[in-house]
Amino acid sequence: MKHHAIKLTVNGEERELTVPSNRTLLDALRDDLGYTDTKYGCGTGECGACTVLVDGVTSINGCLTLAATMDGRSITTVAGLARDGNLHPVQQAFIDHDAVQCGFCTPGMVLKTISLLADNPAPNETEIRHGLEGNICRCTGYSKIVEAVQDASDRMQGTGE
């Protein structure tokens, strides 16, 4: 199989690696680069546990993206959100609203929220629920996640982030 030498900037750090054509971004992040905060939940793009951000705000499923197509791009995983020990407002809102249970969907859910709020900084409840459709949570029934997203939206608008 053909291999590709690619460069990825992951959480601000430039990484070089060689991947076969069929290597998914999820596997490259987890197995080649050690970003195990990106999760495998289904491998078919249904659950969103592998959600990462491309170039800051666009969310994609790592399991459906070939790593080689991401050459030169910037990837953010949930481990790359905190700044100088300060959590991103979305992370803090998830904590404050008990929106975290088993935590396996959490990285994807947090990143999806950031992407959602970048598109629509002040979503209503229906828009939030619609925006999270690609991310499955089996613990929370989504109630507290939706509350957390609403609160994060308020906080981010308040601080102008």
């Binding site: 999760k39 949930v78 396996f104 229906t126 939030i128 619609h130 459709e133 613990c139 929370t140």
Partner: protein
């Protein structure tokens, strides 16, 4: 009401920060030097077949392959992946007829995805490629997907000791006439004015915990078997693996990783035996097994599906005189916990209403499907679907309000609980019903929805449930906890209680802080290491806060008593004259006589002897509290859900508009944690009643073992939800707490079915209530 410092407060969950930052390590995230990868070779061509040939030679030649393993290359000892057989006495195990009928690899495939061999390779990909080269030939056998099929006299017998493929029925020795019963049911029915009866079907629902089953095992250079697993039951799995591989428990270590949801799927062993068997074949090398979602689906247990017949009799005045029921479940390919759910499904039925007489038969039949085991509710959602619909049918015939009837006839304090002979000791179900009814406007809506026409019809329905906090006295309940006080007056709890995400480590830490008189931040819970922790039966039966919390409280009381004893000696006062505030122990009625906890804990450790006398100073010795706790009861939680739905008469679609869940939780140690359990439970309960079922074709090939084809309710599908926490302290629970882990899934099932009944005037007898079934019922 008692004022608490930490109990009932919304403290930050112990695991929230690390989880939002991505630092929580689940089993798949752990890397080790020299790690090898295992791939189990499974039969996906047949659900029932004999393996007539197995050729591993081509696979062995594949690049990166370390070794290939067939049935004879690993232990051939049979086992039972469930741990239920370790929760009952040896005598009871014999009475129940629990058997070991699983092997690491089989030559008799009994379900889609049964394991026949394995590859160990240097990478996951190499192992997968080699697995594709395994050549197996099969003799196809008839497939039995229901009890009706597998009980036929000419059916192939799954096990010689289980004739008729009846894996389990309530044993005569413990249950006369193979039934869980009281009173004379036949005589009672003769006295009944109104009888309602039907046969229902409950579906094979899957837990769908977000983390698939991933494992690492290492048979190390000290000849110890190490297993990294997200099991819910580390101490029982330790013992089970010790038994299977014939090792003393000191040579088996469970490293419990962060658990990505359980809901019963990790109750007992799943792929721990296979992973350990592979590791034993390559001593000194860690072996990792990662499950795909599709693989996890067919290797971990599901809910028990099956036919559920029930008949109820009432007097004209509403008196429930008799209930007769039979649940024939389709148990799947192996025995596992055939006994447990078959019993409890009837226990929840028996625990709900004051029938003059009741008789329940529970039978588990082998079928060619993946195994059934524990799933949140453990038979209770099945019973809720059937019992609550029949009660509502009775209420219609009686012309009574379903809430009023339930308030009059549900069991309460002093009545026999779900386990006969153990009366309920607390019950606030009336308050749950009243508050839920008020919150949703029950009476007005019930009236409003009486006469509807048109394509869109609304309905409102109620259901109630009883559950348990731990499985005492049916099963062993026991947790060991020790708490050690450090020199800086902080404390570490050491125990094996599992937090699967439900928040139990948070609430246990609150119990410890409140009991010790310490701050929440002063406590750390050390867990996950089976070498260090004492016994704990594991996370099941909604027992972790009730039983684990009881152990924590007792251990912390022990430590606190030692602190007070030492303070009394130092202050030359009676213990009874002392009190603690802000970690300082004072003498009552004086302002200047006190000693800090830190002085005592520091003196206990950093005790430099008096250089003149050569004696230790004050009270030497590190303080350690200990408890080996057996709970006195099972503190029954009760709950009520009212659901409001909208049914489209043209398409059969059901939309749930809102749910009100009112639960008698005793005391909410952490309200956010409690609400989270009710919210999540509701999502799963609604799924069972509306959308979720694992389907097979007539050859037993699974059709929807993936998130693509199995429909769970997503964020937009969820209704408006209101949770009402009714706090009426249980006399035996830690700070009055009762369980909430499973309760939330149960009444949304019956309430939604009853709301549909209220909307369209027809009961749908099979769950999930899909649009097709609704349409079919309307048209007929």
């Amino acid at each position: 009401m008692t004022e608490y410092a930490v109990i009932g407060k919304k403290v930050e969950r112990v695991d929230a920060r690390i989880k939002v930052m991505g630092g929580a390590l689940y089993a798949a995230d752990i890397q080790m030097a020299g790690m090898l990868y295992g791939k189990i070779v499974r039969c996906y061509d047949y659900a029932h077949a004999r393996v007539t040939g197995l050729d591993l030679s081509e696979a062995a030649k594949c690049p990166g392959v370390v070794t290939v393993l067939g049935p004879e290359d690993v232990t051939t000892k049979a086992y039972n992946a469930s741990v239920l057989d370790m929760m009952v006495s040896t005598d009871m195990r014999t009475v129940l007829g629990d058997i070991d009928d699983q092997n690491i690899f089989t030559d008799h495939v009994k379900h889609y995805g049964d394991a026949i061999a394995a590859i160990i390779a240097i990478s996951e990909e190499a192992a997968e490629r080699a697995a594709e080269k395994v050549k197996a030939t099969y003799e196809e056998l008839p497939v039995y997907l229901t009890a009706e099929a597998s009980k036929q006299p000419d059916a192939i017998q799954f096990r010689p000791e289980k004739p008729g493929n009846l894996a389990f029925q309530l044993p005569e020795m413990a249950f006369p006439n193979n039934s869980y019963a009281w009173g004379d049911v036949d005589k009672s029915f003769a006295d009944a004015d109104i009888i309602v009866e039907d046969t229902f079907y409950v579906p094979k629902q899957k837990q769908c915990q977000m983390e698939p089953g991933n494992y690492i095992a290492l048979y190390d250079d000290q000849q110890r078997l190490n297993c990294w697993t997200s099991t819910q039951m580390p101490k029982l799995v330790q013992k089970k693996l010790a038994n299977l591989f014939e090792l003393p428990m000191t040579r088996v270590k469970i490293n419990q990783t962060v658990i990505g949801g359980g809901f019963g799927a990790r109750l007992g062993m799943v792929l721990e035996p296979e992973t350990c068997a592979l590791a034993m074949a390559v001593p000194g090398r860690p072996v990792k097994i990662l499950s795909t979602r599709e693989e996890d689906w067919v290797t971990s247990p599901s809910r028990h599906p099956g036919k559920y017949w029930m008949r109820m009799g009432f007097k004209k005045d509403g008196t429930p005189v008799a209930c007769d029921a039979k649940f024939e479940n389709y148990k799947g390919a192996y025995y596992v916990d055939a006994s447990g759910t078959a019993f409890t499904t009837g226990a929840w039925l028996g625990g709900m209403y004051k029938f003059d007489s009741l008789r329940y038969h529970g039978e588990s039949y082998y079928t060619n499907q993946s195994i059934c085991g524990a799933f949140r509710g453990y038979g209770n959602p099945q019973t809720n679907f059937v019992m609550e619909q029949l009660v509502d049918r009775g209420c219609v015939e009686l012309g009574v309000d379903p809430i009023e009837w339930r308030k009059k006839w549900h069991k309460t304090i002093g009545d026999d609980g779900w386990c006969m002979g153990v009366p309920y000791n607390s019950c606030a179900l009336d308050e749950c019903l009243d508050r839920a009814a008020a919150a949703i406007g029950w009476a007005e809506k019930r009236e409003k929805y009486k006469h509807q026409s048109g394509n869109i019809r609304r309905g409102i329905g109620v259901a109630v449930m009883n559950h348990t906090s731990g499985a005492m006295p049916m099963l062993l309940e026991h947790t060991v906890c020790d708490v050690i006080l450090h020199q800086d007056a902080t404390a570490t709890l050491n125990l094996a209680c599992s937090d699967m995400g439900q928040g139990s480590h948070t609430t246990l830490r609150q119990v410890a802080a409140e009991t010790l008189g310490f701050n929440y931040e002063d406590i750390y819970i050390a867990t996950g290491n089976s070498d260090a922790a004492g016994f704990d039966i594991g996370a099941h039966a909604s027992r972790t806060l009730y039983v684990g919390g009881g152990a924590v409280k007792q251990a912390c009381e022990d430590a606190r008593r030692q602190l007070f004893d030492r303070a009394a000696l130092e202050l030359e006062e009676e213990v009874g004259n002392l009190y603690m505030e802000d970690k300082i122990i004072h003498v009552k009625g004086t302002s200047n006589k006190s000693i800090s906890v830190q002085t005592l804990t520091d003196q206990g450790i950093n005790n430099f002897m008096n250089p003149e006398t050569g004696e230790l100073i004050g009270q030497p010795g590190q303080i350690k509290g200990y408890a080996s706790f057996f709970p006195p009861h099972n503190a029954p939680p009760f709950g009520a859900t009212i659901a409001e739905v909208e049914v489209d008469m043209e398409t059969g679609e059901v939309r749930v508009l809102q749910l009100v869940n009112a639960h008698d939780v005793g005391k909410a140690i952490h309200p956010g944690v409690v609400e989270g359990q009710l919210d999540g439970g509701a999502q799963q309960g609604l799924g069972m009643v509306l959308t979720e079922e694992t389907y097979y074709d007539d050859k037993g090939i699974c059709l929807n073992n993936s998130f693509t084809d199995y429909k769970m309710l997503g964020p937009s599908d969820m209704p408006k939800m209101t949770n009402i926490l009714v706090e009426d302290a249980d006399p035996t629970g830690p700070f009055g707490a009762k369980s909430v882990g499973e309760a939330g899934i149960v009444p949304p099932v019956g309430a939604t079915a009853n709301a549909i009944f209220n909307a369209i005037g027809i009961q749908i007898l099979e769950a999930p209530i899909t649009p097709e079934k609704v349409l079919k019922a309307i048209i007929i």
